[in-house]
């Protein structure tokens, strides 16, 4: 029983429970210490992840390899940044409670379980352990009807998606006789043993995961939940869970369902096309910036799906790079959104950014960098993300995907640049309230990464390459 392999998850879960106890017992407000302790726990988990051995544990239900290390470090980084962004905002909004970091820690544990899942049951449990805290924190501002609505909507649709996934997993188990990923891969490598039941099950599993990443036929929840949930929660939603769900998709598609490539390729092809088109067109008319970011995230998911749909080492590497770069950009953007507070009230209209270039030039510059990067303007990081996503599609002869991708990014450039225009050329509104220090640090870090990625792209690309090699090898 080599349970020590799962030490990062165990440490994270145990520290979450310890913080829970530490938050309940004292008779005073423990929100701030709980946040700091949660950041410490994430750091500890990251250190343990780096020091982790490779191999299978718990009778093959858990796997630790180079791919899981890469994805887990990204997730832990995203969760830590999300937590750092959230603390001050929650306090100012009057919704700061110590349960927030605890729920974030449990969600992060769930994400790590997903990334390391080597069994359909572990996959499902990890997904639920991620989803349940997300439902709760979406409704964290419980006295605000929009937040409660977001939580309820997310919960109902998420439960439906879980049902689909579970049904698919049951079909796969029923027709294949095993839930272990390596045995499934072995079985499905032989085309003679692939039955319609397994394919149907795989499609249901894909549908459940597509819901989590908000790819097109399953994207309906995203705008409402992004808009309704507190901005600090939306910042968390947009970053780490996407990485986890994509990592899981990559593992499931290359591992157990690797033999069904012809079948899942069509599904992902359509999902990628639909996501890119919808993300580009639906965001055009939005006035609420969180809603706009929701549609933008759907579009970005489409780009990340290109790599998976194309498959192969280059495609997967493109997906991982895209996700890493997208996560940093999106954390930066939400850092800026969290600064949008005027006279003690959070504002979230695009028009509220008017004249930011004069009232807060540093923040406006950072936002402009993120917007240009999301639009894919070289030499910012977002350009390289799109480059590494589209290049394998062109090389693999997937012309529809590549052409639609380029067109979608041209259309989406309109609404990204509109924000820049509003910030620099519209008549200024009164300045925002003072920025919290943690938010400034995260925004500055994300801005520096986005701007100077082109100087030092090698470490990230090499890490993604190694991760993909570990997954495919």
């Amino acid at each position: 029983m080599n349970w020590t392999l799962a030490l990062p998850e165990i440490a994270l879960a145990v520290s979450a429970m310890a913080i829970l106890v530490g938050g309940v017992l004292p008779r005073r407000d423990t929100t701030f210490p709980a946040h700091i302790a949660a950041l410490g726990a994430l750091l500890l988990a990251a250190a343990l992840t780096l020091a982790q051995d490779r191999g299978l544990a718990f009778g093959g239900q858990y796997v630790a390899d180079g791919f899981s290390t890469f994805a887990k470090l990204l997730i832990l980084f995203g969760a830590a940044a999300g937590l750092a962004l959230a603390q001050e905002w929650n306090a100012r909004q009057g919704i700061a409670r110590f349960e927030f970091p605890v729920l974030i820690l449990f969600a992060t544990t769930g994400m790590m379980v997903m990334v390391s899942a080597h069994d359909l049951i572990a996959l499902y449990l990890g997904l639920e352990l991620l989803s349940l805290p997300l439902y709760v924190i979406a409704a964290f501002d419980r006295d605000n009807p929009r937040s409660a609505e977001a939580g309820l909507k997310y919960f109902v649709l998420g439960a439906l998606a879980s049902g689909l996934l579970l049904y698919g997993a049951a079909l796969v188990y029923g027709f294949a006789g095993t839930t272990r990923f390596d045995r499934l891969a072995q079985l499905l490598a032989d085309p003679a043993r692939v039955s319609a039941g397994v394919v149907a099950g795989m499609v249901f599993v894909l549908a459940g995961l597509a819901f989590k990443v908000a790819a097109v036929p399953f994207h309906m929840w995203t705008p409402d939940v992004y808009e309704g949930a507190p901005t600090s929660v939306t910042a968390f939603f947009a970053a780490a869970p996407k990485v986890a769900a994509f990592a899981l998709l990559a593992r499931v598609l290359t591992g157990p369902f690797g033999g069904l490539e012809a079948q899942w390729q069509q599904v992902l092809h359509l999902a990628a096309l639909g996501s890119m088109v919808l993300g580009a067109l639906a965001a055009l008319g939005q006035q609420n910036i969180k809603r706009l970011m929701a549609y933008s995230s759907i579009g970005h998911v489409g780009f990340a799906l290109i790599g998976l749909a194309v498959g192969g080492e280059a495609g997967l590497r493109g997906t991982l790079l895209y996700l890493a770069i997208y996560m940093v950009m999106t954390l930066g953007v939400f850092g800026v959104l969290l600064c949008m507070r005027r006279g003690g009230r959070a504002v979230e209209g695009i028009g509220d950014l008017a004249g930011l270039g004069r009232t807060d030039p540093a923040l406006a510059l950072a936002m402009a960098v993120f917007m240009f990067s999301m639009a894919g303007v070289p030499p910012l990081a977002g350009f390289f993300g799109k480059l590494y996503a589209l290049l394998p599609a062109v090389q693999g002869g997937f012309w529809t995907l590549a052409v639609v991708g380029v067109l979608a990014s041209v259309v989406s450039a309109y609404y990204y640049l509109r924000i820049v225009k509003v910030m620099y050329f519209d008549a200024p509104l009164p300045a925002f309230d003072a920025r919290p220090v943690a938010v400034s640090v995260v925004v500055a870090g994300a801005g520096l990464f986005t701007t100077f990625f082109f100087l030092f792209p090698a470490p990230l690309i090499a890490a993604a390459q190694a991760a993909v090699a570990a997954l495919m090898g």
């Binding site: 349970w3 799962a6 879960a13 429970m17 829970l20 544990a57 718990f58 009778g59 239900q61 858990y62 409670r97 349960e99 605890v102 729920l103 449990f106 544990t109 379980v113 069994d119 049951i121 572990a122 449990l125 990890g126 639920e128 352990l129 349940l132 805290p133 439902y135 709760v136 409704a139 964290f140 419980r142 939580g151 006789g177 095993t178």
Partner: protein, 227 residues
């Protein structure tokens, strides 16, 4: 002897199931449901599945049926109103029921087990071990990871329920038993005429400890300090 017990429990089970549907009083219906659960548990015991029997009693009787009772008692549902269309909808219900029965019969009649299935089971029942122990062995050894994950999910559900519903309002009235007992003053017994209403009988609200304001008549029953 076993056959006798089986027919006894099965008969009571069916009878109580019928009563669940037909009982006029919803509380009686839930009590019949509980009786039904107990009999089903007894049937499981006869079949040698004592773990299922325990779970049935603990989960369904202990939790689900009690929840039903709560709902029935707390919500003001007019069950007579709900049941009004029973006669009219009975033929329709019978058709649906008939189709379901037919499908069940088809499933039972056409059920085949792959001959090699028994040998392929990943976790066969170990010999000379009752099924609770067998389940425990597999749950706490091979699947400890999944078991603990499920536990974490339940913990998160609990935290979530508390986060979303527990309110610590400044004006919340909590019972402080120590203060309640140590309260000075006297307690009077009043004879309240039927239908007179509390406000007219002159029952006064107990004095708040912090700011003793003028006692005023209230419209609800005073029970010590708050409730």
């Amino acid at each position: 002897m076993t056959a006798l017990a089986f027919y006894l429990f099965a008969g009571v089970l069916i009878a109580s199931a019928v009563m669940v549907v037909t009982a006029r009083n919803p509380v009686h219906a839930v009590l019949y449901l509980i009786l039904g659960f107990f009999n089903a548990a007894a049937l499981f015991l006869i079949a040698g599945a004592e773990f299922l029997a325990m779970i049935l009693v603990i989960v369904y009787v202990g939790a689900v049926a009690v929840l039903f009772l709560f709902v029935v008692m707390m919500l003001d549902i007019d069950f007579a109103q709900l049941r009004r269309g029973l006669q009219r909808h009975a033929p329709f219900g019978a058709v649906i029921g008939g189709i379901l029965l037919l499908e069940l019969l088809l499933v039972v009649a056409l059920w085949r087990l792959a001959p090699e299935a028994a040998a392929l089971r990943a976790a066969p029942v170990p010999p000379a071990v009752d099924n609770t122990e067998a389940l425990g062995r597999i749950l706490y050894t091979d699947n400890i990871y999944l078991f603990q994950l499920a536990g974490l999910i339940l913990l998160v559900a609990m935290i979530g329920a508390i986060v979303l519903t527990l309110r610590d309002r400044p004006g919340t009235k909590r019972q402080d038993i120590a203060r309640q007992i140590a309260r000075p003053g006297r307690i009077d017994l009043l004879r309240v005429p039927t239908g007179a209403g509390i406000a007219t009988t002159g029952i006064l609200r107990p004095e708040p400890a912090e700011a003793p304001a003028a006692a005023k008549p209230v419209a609800h029953q005073p029970q010590g300090e708050g409730h």
